[in-house]
């Protein structure tokens, strides 16, 4: 059988596939859109008060998933870093002695969680001007995270820089402030406290970790879950949350972070 005949046969068989009834989504989608109007955060917009800051800070959760989390100092480091009202620490059951921990999923390509855009697109769609680090590399490829409409991702050869505006009680475009970042780390992962321009920062190295978002109700935002196979530097200012994912050494990541305007 030649290729064309095989293709036609596959097409014929596929045409008989049965699907569940298509749901009527119009009303639900429009209700959701009306209920969650997008915000327009601006890089120059400042948080009005410390209480707003408290609500706008991204918190972090360490989750040990089937892995012995033998780094209590790391837990406290993250807790201190995001030590604000609303933070919480979740420790799931650890692996029993002799049980092989479940490995993290293979890191996915950026195309699976972000859509190509441009610096102009970030300005237009997200309402802020992406800050560019001073590096010798050429202009970055620019993406907007699919699961988190307020996040811009600047992809350079050696690192990805995430920029997420914090403003007015929301993170990014309308995500409630009490949404939290969660990071599941393995026992081999090292977590270190730092400062970037006097702002609190954390360097995560030595092993893959899982990033996900937990919503205000404590539910995982399914589309956000992904494995980060590289070292990560995270820090926040009054108005932005940043993350650098890279194989570069710590000192170079810090230099890149400090080079941001």
């Amino acid at each position: 059988m030649d290729e064309l005949m095989f293709e036609e046969a596959v097409q014929r068989i596929a045409a008989a596939a049965a699907y569940p009834s298509t749901p009527q989504l119009r009303a639900r989608v429009l209700d959701a859109i009306a209920a969650r109007p997008p915000a327009a955060p601006s890089r120059t917009r400042q948080l009005a008060s410390s209480s707003m800051l408290r609500f706008a800070i991204v918190a972090s959760v360490i989750v040990g998933i089937a892995v012995a989390l033998s780094v209590p100092s790391s837990r406290s480091a993250i807790a201190d870093f995001f030590g604000v009202e609303g933070s919480r620490i979740e420790i799931l059951p650890t692996a029993a002695p002799g049980v092989t921990p479940t490995p993290f999923p293979t890191p996915a390509g950026i195309e699976t969680y972000a859509t190509p855009s441009s610096l102009d697109g970030v300005q237009r769609d997200l309402g802020f001007t992406a800050a560019l680090p001073q590096v010798e590399a050429g202009p970055p490829a620019v993406y907007i995270a699919d699961y988190f409409a307020g996040a811009a991702v600047l992809r350079y050869d050696a690192f990805d820089l995430w920029e997420v505006p914090l403003a007015g009680g929301t993170i990014g475009k309308g995500i409630p402030a009490d949404t939290v970042f969660a990071k599941a780390v393995g026992g081999a992962t090292k977590i270190e406290d730092l400062t970037i321009k006097a702002h609190p920062a954390t360097w995560i190295s030595g092993g893959a970790h899982i990033v996900r978002f937990i919503d205000a109700n404590g539910h995982e935002v399914a589309a956000s879950v992904r494995t980060v196979g590289r070292n990560t530097l995270i820090w926040r200012t009054e108005a932005f949350f940043y993350r650098i994912e890279t194989d570069l050494p710590e000192a170079e990541a810090i230099r890149i972070a400090n080079s941001l305007p």
Partner: protein, 188 residues
Amino acid sequence: MFDEVQATAGAAQGDHAAFGALVERYQEVAFRAAYLIVREAPAAEDVAQEAFIRAYRQMRSFRQGEPFRPWLLRIVTNLALNEVRSRRRRRGLFARAAIFERSEADPPHNDLAAQDEAAALLRAIAELPEDDRIVLHLRYFLELPEREIAAAIGKPAGTVKSRLHRAGRRLRDVVEAKYPELTERIDG
């Protein structure tokens, strides 16, 4: 009469009614694209709904005049893949996708044998790498032309053509090795 250009232009300006028309027009393909990946109707429904919400929020980045369907399907596919990864991680399963079976929940079909063959074909496709699965779903189950597949996965048309060729070859190997009932049907 549905006018896609008018609907996308209106939606980009924040016209909810215009976007509602797009939802009605493409909810079936969005739901089915999600279902082919996540394999559960409630999850596919959630993915399709969330995809439309995100599409609305990103409408200003949509290029007017381009077809809306592949642009939407790209969002659907990304969300559905993330949902599967999340679910596998939660369940501790990383190697195999769920098995496609005809279920009682499926609507009646005139030719149950043909429906079973389609389910077998989906199981065969489920054994292929993710990139292969996506293009085969889009091409044969959702019947998208290659140019729309290219837009949906964000790759050049030439890449889609070669990926379809490679995926078809791998599918054929799997079918011949493990699905004799399909081989018979295809050869017959």
